[in-house]
């Protein structure tokens, strides 16, 4: 108990002299780029980017489905452009966005509603592992035709 018997007056002298760094609004871009980021910060940034990409995709998607109203020829013509190797890879990469947003979305719900704050970092790692596995599995499904051709 002896250690705690200092006079309160002495305590302020022991507080180290540090400056509180506040957010510099004028340089918001570099502030955002340079603050220290833990897994949660990355999760937040990526959740935002993938969310914006998905709603953007949804608008494009409705537009590119619209030839469905004009019948078979119009729709197949539109879809032809999405079955080129380039777009097949793009559709695969889109799944990475879908996966990140979905798995991290589940992580957010667990943190909010199931006491996940205690192990949110493990959940973040787990969602990466699951995500990579599911991404590769989807690649195998999407390119199964090409993969078969390779081995025959």
């Amino acid at each position: 108990m002896e250690k705690d018997t200092k006079s309160p007056l002495e305590i302020p002298n022991e507080v180290p002299d540090f400056k509180i760094k506040t957010f510099d609004q004028k340089n918001w871009i570099s502030e955002n780029l340079h603050y220290k980021k833990d897994s949660g910060s990355w999760a937040w940034i990526l959740h935002r980017i993938t969310g914006i990409a998905l709603i953007g995709y949804l608008f494009l998607h409705v537009y590119s489905l619209s030839p469905l109203t004009k019948g078979e020829i119009a729709f197949n013509q539109m879809m032809q452009s999405y079955t080129t190797p380039f777009f097949m890879v793009v559709e695969w990469l889109l799944f990475a966005f879908v996966l990140f947003h979905s798995l991290n979305g589940i992580r957010i719900v667990i943190v909010d509603w199931a006491d996940g704050a205690k192990y949110h970092k493990q959940l973040y790692k787990l969602s990466w592992v699951l995500g990579i596995i599911l991404f590769l599995a989807m690649g195998a499904l999407m390119f199964s035709h090409e993969i078969k051709m390779l081995f025959n």
């Binding site: 949804l58 489905l65 879809m79 979905s102 979305g105």
Partner: protein, 128 residues
């Protein structure tokens, strides 16, 4: 003393916070299911015939209508959430909300009309 009581509107946003999570969970099933279905084989997601076949089942149409409704709500509510991170003037808030609501209603209606435009090939098929 309650200086921080939410002033600009009666709505603190807590309902939309809950809805964002619930629609999100529903979208996990819908979106991942959709992705697998659309890439099950090269035709399933990219040909008129495959879509026409599916659309003979009304429950499939219902799934698509639910999907676009939830995804639009969740996505645009999410965009609004991003704007709420910034300090905005009242007129700016109003214009952003109006733009998002109009955009959302227009594209949802467009999506609905696309699904409704796909014919049932024979009259019996409409039953299920």
């Amino acid at each position: 003393m309650l200086k921080y009581k939410y002033k600009s509107s009666k709505d603190s946003g807590s309902k939309s916070w809950v809805l964002q999570r619930i629609t999100g969970l529903a979208l996990v099933v819908l979106m991942i299911g959709h992705y697998i279905l659309m890439h099950y084989n090269p035709e399933s997601g990219h040909t008129y015939g495959a879509v026409l076949n599916r659309m003979q089942h009304s429950w499939y149409r219902i799934i698509d209508l639910t999907f676009i409704t939830l995804a639009m709500y969740h996505g645009l509510n999410g965009i609004w959430n991003i704007f709420r991170d910034y300090k905005l003037k009242q007129w700016a808030k109003l214009s952003i909300i109006s733009a998002l609501v109009i955009l959302g209603l227009a594209f949802t209606a467009w999506g609905y009309s696309i699904i409704f435009s796909i014919p049932y090939i024979n009259s019996v098929a409409g039953a299920n």
